[in-house]
Amino acid sequence: MMQNTRFLALAAAVFLSAPLTALAAVPEPLVPPHQKWDFDGPFGQFDQKALQRGFMVYDRICSTCHGMKALTYNDLNGIGMSEQAILDLAHSKMIAGPPDVSGQPTSRPGRPDDHFRSPFPSDEAAAAMMGGVAPPDQSRLAVIQPHGADWLYAFLTGYRMPPPADAPVVPGKFYNDWVDGHLIGMPPPLMNGMIQYPDGTPATVEQQARDVTSFLVWAADPHRNARHRTGLWVVLYLIGLLVLAIAWKKKTWKRVKSQ
């Protein structure tokens, strides 16, 4: 009996020691409100007009601090930019070239197959200039960030100026509803009418946030339109093939049944 109790106690200790740690659970991450996006779902498609406006926001504002080094200027073909526009854009960017004969650094105008120019010479330099944390590269940001597009939009429209009365005030930090601890070093990037869209769309903060979010999602998944379109045809083809294959199989196996 004694033995039994001891065994039970031991077993209980082995199996129950772990769950105590579970009580100190991580707080649930904030879930941003769901927005309706054209590119959502298995058949979603990007709206090229929105992508072009979004690129404008990225190019004028975000790219001051955030790199997108996996992309080349040529990739912008995917948002419907013409070859000439891509060439002009690349030319307008000065890219670091090789050192000249006397060892001095040089720069040259960009080419369409150059990768997007990084705003900082290195991650270390970026961290040093931006208060200790390098602004993250945005090539795959929309994939890596939980809740992707919804979070990006919520975050970009989630700054509160002035901050709520009970929020701690830290110099150089800004209040945002959608970051851990509500304080972030990145100042509110968007302002009403800060840029002018060539297509006449009013450039409100919400509109810019929507457009640049679309662009970031595209940058993280640039072949989505083609993927969804091709997928539809492939699936339709396979369904047709399946019908034929089932008919053939049935016809063949009828012989077994009638043997």
Binding site: F15, L16, A70, R227, H228, G231, L232
Partner: protein, 413 residues
Amino acid sequence: MKIPENTGDHSANTPPATGLAGWIDQRLPVISAFRAEYVDFRLPRNLNWLWNFGAILTVVLVLMLATGIFLAMNYTATDAGAFLSVEAIDRQLSGGWLLRAMHMTGANLFLAALYIHLFRGLYYGSYKAPREILWLTGLVLLVMVMATAFAGYMLPWGQMSYWGADVITKAVGAVPVIGGALEHIMTGSDHLGDVFLHRFFVLHFLMAFLVVAVVGLHVTAVHISGSNNPLGIEPKSRKDTLTFHPYYTTKDLVGLIIFALIFTALMFFWPNLLAEPANYAPADPMHTPADIEPEWYFLPFYGLLQSVPSKFGGLLAAAGSIVVLFFLPWLDRSSIRSARFRPMCRVGLLGLVVAFVLLAVAGKHHAEGVWMIVARLAGLYYFGYFLVLLPLAARMEKTRPLPSSIAAAEGDA
């Protein structure tokens, strides 16, 4: 070697090849061998849809090689270049996104099909005499495919690649005495960098072709012993069997197309179900991710690894869960193969599947809290099934009567 007799089916009456084909066949009988093994070859007439997975695995393997070769042509196996070379495949290489999507989806569904194939072997007792070697070559393939998949997952050199490598090399380092040496053989230097990546790239590429060689042995073995079937009794007469073509070619075709539909739906419409988002961030040795977890197909073993308090013990449990499968033909002494006629084994196997899934879920939760208990119980059950339940069942189980023949069971005696 089974030489198919004249079957009465039209295909078996095909005269020997003449002309150029006949000339070749007399010197190297590839044409008649193909006909014997893939046209006239006789299989039990009652194979169900679970027997499609052999053909499915073969096709996915070919797809993996075909896409893998072109991916390798555009890949750079260096610490600094790997991540960006994969980005370039995905973005700038013409059709590269499709190649990579096929390879990634293929890897996931290959493992999924492999687990189903393995389960079918367990359920219908396909590991029993005279198919022990068939079973063993299959398990060798399982181990090789897992190694290949792990090596392949390192190659994009994202955060999960790097920290997955960190976890595994340190786990190997926990082996007593030789652990340090083994770890050094894996990493190649004092940190995970160029040497490690290059080694695993070569390993991934090499293993893929070794897998093809062992598949050759596996398929040869099944053509020597013949396929098992859902009843687990050997065919006794011609009435019990059907020729590979046209019966199982048409059935495999239907299975393959359904599989292809699942494959394409995942690949084109829901790619994020299979991809780990954190691996789209480049490897960063200075920044440990909050959640390090392997791909879903390794989660059961990860659950076992974490359920044991000692690192080496966890490694033993995870490795042991596969090693025990190698002894299965000699652990299960029952003369009856199919679980259809073994009530105890059938329920026990259902429990085994539940335990395997629970281990995976526990692995996903890092075997923390309640999941630690779940993982330990599931792990105990997993080993208990093979080491206790099966040997006992062979003696104690009240089995159901076997039908006299396959044809009789099909109502065609």
